[in-house]
């Protein structure tokens, strides 16, 4: 008798919880589908320069998806992800320039090269924690620029490399800027789906466990060095893929585009966008793309100051990043809708 009472008492809220979960999940997919439809429609409505800007938002979003994997989900830090971005960008540029490979081939190769370099650097680096890890990754970013300038015969030195942009196939009927946008969108969607399913698996849980409590994670059977190193390598791979698309879109690489500030800006963009959240990288991409130019408009003399002040302002208003802010807004909108 008491047994059945126990069962129903436990069962009812579970079912309600499951329903709520399904509703929340569906809501999320509806928002995503609407966003995707808007993203497909936008390039036909905007002027080429705006299309270019949104293409760059997508490029940054892919890099931030990778950085988010490491910083937001696994709780490690990297002040040098610009270096992997550069590896992808230069990798693609050299493949296009020296070997004249067809550009679709450059994406998997650039990503693979970034992955291998990330793995090689991650093996020793991921034994370090906190400030030590921050310093080692910062060193990567600092080393890179002189390295690129030094090997002039391959990298083009300080002058960089200029490349032809991928031409849109005739059957699409798209202009160049639109074609590049859709290429970036395809890479971004693939990267997003991959990161999403990674996070919704045993691997994602292991990374979250490491972030929240290393000792307990290890006792539960999570091999810390393995997961940290592979998270680093995967995050480098995403950054490398983003770098490759960057080269397609810009058609030019030079060492000074990948200075330490790029790494710092990426990290700032991610934190502002929202660490460990699904929409954080996209919001961060918008931030990285638009805020510097907005600050330039506000005050031409000191765009850096405005940029810094904006970061402080966002962190003050939304400590969990823009993703947390939009999440809270969506929550209260749904609440008001339900009340009516």
């Amino acid at each position: 008798m008491s047994d059945t009472a126990e069962v129903t008492r436990v069962d009812a809220p579970t079912r309600a919880g499951a329903l709520r979960r399904v509703a929340a999940e569906r809501w999320r997919w509806i928002v995503l589908a609407a966003l995707f439809a808007a993203a497909c429609y936008a390039p036909f409505q905007l002027v080429p320069f705006r299309v270019f800007q949104f293409t760059m938002v997508l490029v940054y979003a892919v890099a931030l998806l990778g950085l988010n994997l490491l910083v937001g989900h696994a709780g490690q830090i990297s002040l040098g992800h610009g270096a992997f971005f550069a590896v992808g960008a230069y990798g693609a540029a050299i493949m296009l320039d020296r070997f004249e490979l067809p550009y679709p081939v450059t994406l998997p190769i650039a990503a693979a090269v970034a992955f291998v370099i990330g793995l090689a650097l991650g093996l020793p680096a991921m034994r370090l924690r906190g400030l030590y890890l921050a310093l080692v990754t910062l060193a990567m970013a600092i080393f890179l620029v002189p390295l690129l300038k030094r090997f002039e015969e391959v990298t083009g030195g300080s002058m960089g490399l200029t490349l032809p942009k991928p031409a849109p196939p005739a059957w699409t009927g798209l202009a160049e800027d639109q074609w590049l946008y859709f290429l970036a969108l395809a890479v971004a969607v693939a990267a997003f789906l991959s990161a999403y399913s990674l996070m919704r698996s045993r691997v994602g849980r292991a990374l979250h466990a490491i972030r929240d409590n290393e000792a307990a994670a290890e006792t539960m059977g999570v091999r810390l060095s393995f997961y940290k190193t592979l998270a680093f390598a995967w995050s480098a791979m995403f950054a490398g893929a983003a770098g490759c698309v960057y080269t397609w879109v810009i058609g030019f690489v030079s060492p000074d585009s990948f200075a330490v500030t790029l790494s710092i800006t990426l990290l700032a963009g991610l934190v502002v966008g929202g660490l460990g959240s699904l929409s954080g990288p996209l919001l961060g991409g918008l931030f990285v793309m638009f805020v510097p130019s907005i600050s330039q408009d506000v005050n031409e003399a000191a765009p850096g100051v405005i940029f810094g002040l904006l970061i402080i302002a966002v962190m003050y208003v939304a400590p969990t990043g823009l993703a947390g802010l939009t999440g809270r807004a969506a929550h209260s909108i749904r609440k008001t809708l339900r009340k009516e």
Binding site: V10, S194, A195, L198, R200, A206, H208, N213, T219, G221
Partner: protein, 252 residues
Amino acid sequence: MLEVHDLTVRFGGITALDGVGFSVRRGEMVGLIGPNGAGKTTLFNCLTRRYDADSGTVTYEGRSLLGVAPHAIAALGIARTFQNLGLFPRMSVRDNVMVGAHHRGRAGFLTAGLRLPGVGGEERRLRAEADEVLTRLSLAEVAEHPAAGLPFGTLKRVELARALVGRPRLLLLDEPVNGLNSAEVEAFAGTLRAIRDDLDVTVVVVEHHMGFVMGTCDRVVCLDFGRKIAEGTPAVVQRDPGVIEAYLGTAV
């Protein structure tokens, strides 16, 4: 099942465990008691390879544990809970519990990142198992809730659920009823007995709550200053003069 022999652990000049030895038979529930600082948690940390032993041996199911890597302990069928909670505060209760089944999953970065076939099935299977344990411990209502912010007693149960979902053969519980009221202690003792019978696990439990220890354990080992001072049935240990002096105290 578990043989601890002459185990010694030193931290600098302090000897936390000094030649401790005892054994646990399969299916037993053994209580580990003793004053604070007696070395009970240190012993658990040795068994799960968080600390290195300076000398002595630990044999589990016929193999030495002291050479096993810390992350490989879970796969051997040893699970534990922590004295001051070792949960993942930002993860949901269900995800916390599912981490406990980590060693039973196969999905890796590549298979999960590409969502290859098999990953979804494994995920559903582990989730169903986690939900089963959550329901058993009356945690189904809070499954979606982040671990942070739940009451202490609930979190203690979440830790137990996380340990159980790994299907351990040896369960190490570090002060499981600490901070619970007497009704909760009673309920927990019942749950633990049921779990032991249903899931065929061997339990070693560190606890200060003497009523709980006396009521649930088959055998009790008492430590004091890193040494074993008594071992036997609860009734015998309770009357042991050394235990009374060091730990239980005498009625004035």
